[in-house]
């Protein structure tokens, strides 16, 4: 796998030889984009922070991988921790930051000790005065969002903030801050020194009713048919989900997987998470799991998200009990759309997708439970 190739401090050395401007040029030419889901060009993000005038700047490595079904960053920690550190150093050097943070999700606490040792070792070998601290996340999905992560590190509740100002201009403690995903930073180090580095390779986290779940590195544009062949479903497949935010769609073997097909028009997510669901499952059960997730993880700032996700969960419980009427299903759909339209951040804006898509594509699964009226 390309992502597991070690850079062994060669990328760090090259970065210092060529200087910030050339680093940005190379990353731009190689086409590195953010791997957390938003696909924003990394060189541009770093460029904003580099050009911002400030006495202090910061770099945050976003290791708060929380989207259900996503476990690609964990695999990078397990296989190539040193290169993550090198990527952070290069980002810091390019923008002029001295203090860096790795926001490690609380559920990955067991990875921390080994990674802290890798940080120590790499920093020692790199002979730099840049520091890297691990911030121990404490189980808040919303902290994967860049403004929420910043609030969290500053010692506040991890609630999303209005943008602009964007973090590269005004972030941590009001100073220019680069927030990048683990995979992005690893790729930045690799792209700098490997001539054959391929920007089209992505990490796919595949799970669900399959016999070979796991992290696979595949090129963008791979077909769903090919992917399904690799992971070998246990039974005939019925549905697919690209993480909770993406809703639940009927399985489409002809689908070509790339940013546009996963995210449709203006969705800013998509870390290539694929959950495959077979015909033995009832979609209402999956909806219940997703609805529960949103009620847990809503940060509480926007009322429609805070209250609406609870209502959706209660309505789904009603469906499952066989007490829901036709009107209840209609209300569910309306609630879901209302939450989407009136929430500030991506969490609320996607909190109803599973309901809307499930009602549209799998009405029979709801009918099984439905009350006569």
């Amino acid at each position: 796998m390309q992502i597991n190739k070690k850079t062994n401090l060669k990328a760090w050395k090259r970065a210092q030889e060529i200087g910030p401007n050339k680093i940005l040029k190379i990353l731009d030419k190689k086409g590195l984009v953010g791997r957390g889901g938003a696909a924003f060009p990394t060189a541009r993000k770093w460029g904003f922070a580099k050009d911002a005038k400030a006495d202090r700047k910061f770099v945050i490595c976003n290791a708060d991988e929380g989207e259900p079904g996503t476990f690609k960053d964990k695999s990078i920690f397990q296989n190539n921790g040193e290169t993550i550190v090198e990527g952070i150093l290069i980002a810091a050097y390019t923008v002029g930051a001295k203090r860096c943070f790795v926001y490690l999700r609380g559920e990955y606490e067991y990875l921390r000790k080994k990674f802290e040792k890798q940080i120590k070792d790499v920093l020692k070998k790199a002979k730099t005065d840049i520091t890297i601290e691990v911030v121990r996340g404490a189980g808040a999905y919303v902290c994967g969002e860049e403004t929420a992560i910043i609030q969290s590190i500053m010692g506040y509740r991890g609630q999303s903030q209005y943008k602009p100002p964007y973090p590269p201009v005004e972030g941590l403690w009001g100073k220019p801050t680069v927030v990048n995903n683990v995979e992005t930073l690893t790729c930045a180090a690799q792209a700098l020194i490997f001539d054959d580095w391929d920007p089209n390779l992505r990490l796919f986290s595949v799970s669900g009713n399959v016999t070979k779940p796991g992290v696979y590195e595949l090129p963008l544009g791979v077909s769903m048919k090919k992917l399904v062949e690799i992971v070998q479903p246990k039974n005939k497949l019925k549905a697919m989900s690209f993480g909770c935010f993406g809703g639940i769609m009927p399985i489409d073997y002809d689908m070509i997987i790339n940013n546009e097909t996963i995210c449709k028009e203006d969705c800013s997510h998509g870390a290539y998470t694929i959950i495959l669901i077979d015909e033995k499952q009832n979609i209402v059960d999956i909806c219940l799991s997703i609805a529960r997730f949103y009620t847990y993880e809503s940060c509480g700032k926007c009322t429609p998200c805070r209250e609406g996700t609870i209502r959706l969960l209660n309505l789904l419980k009603k469906v499952k009990k066989g007490q829901a009427t036709k009107k209840d299903l209609k209300i569910m759909d309306e609630f879901a759309r209302h939450i989407q339209e009136t929430s500030l951040c991506g969490l609320g804006q996607t909190a109803g997708n599973h309901i809307i898509t499930a009602l549209e594509h799998f009405p029979k699964d709801f009918e099984v439970f439905r009350h006569e009226n």
Binding site: R56, E65, G66, E67, P68, G69, T70, F71, K74, F101, R105, G106, E107, Y108, E109, Y110, E133, V135, R136, G137, A138, G139, A140, Y141, S152, I153, M154, G155, Y156, R157, G158, E170, L172, W173, G174, K175, S205, V206, S207, G208, N209, P213, G214, V215, S241, C244, I275, I277, Q281, D285, I286, L288, S289, I290, R292, F293, Y296, E297, C299
Partner: protein, 146 residues
């Protein structure tokens, strides 16, 4: 534009709270007051943080905190049965602590073990590819441990 009052700090409050919790098991009023004085942070703000994050606890937990994953990948691999087995073996409902304060059972969002579902964390350590048999053995071992 809103004036930003944030000033860079050396100490990361979240890490301090987590380290304190590691030591005491939970964030009691007493330790929160100590942190408040030591780091000059209002107690109300500390409580705001402690109650925001799922993993920070203001009430005493069991010696073993079991977090069963309830995300789609685990549900698809029958985590509901696993959760029922856990309830039965521990004699408590999800969200409760046993009377002897040995076990707390919690439902959690995705723990990133989707390729080894169903999965749970016991005091932060992952237990994967769970079956009811495995659960019974694990609980038995933990019950006998000190």
């Amino acid at each position: 534009m809103i004036t930003r009052e944030y000033e860079e700090t050396k100490h990361i409050l979240l890490n301090i709270l987590k380290e304190t919790q590691d030591k005491h098991g939970y964030l009691s009023e007493k330790v929160m007051k100590e942190i408040s004085v030591k780091y000059k942070v209002p107690l109300a703000r500390l409580y705001g943080i402690a109650t925001f994050y799922m993993m920070l606890k203001t009430k005493q937990q069991g010696k073993y905190v079991i977090e069963i994953c309830s995300s789609p990948s685990c549900v698809l691999n029958d985590s509901n049965t696993i959760e029922n087995t856990l309830r039965k073996e521990l004699g408590i409902d999800t969200g409760e602590t046993t009377k002897n304060k040995k076990f707390t059972l919690i439902k959690t969002s995705c723990i990133g073990c989707c390729n080894e579902a169903p999965a749970m964390l016991v005091n932060g350590k992952p237990y994967t590819k769970l079956t009811s048999e495995k659960i019974k053995n694990t609980i038995k071992k933990l019950k006998n441990a000190n």
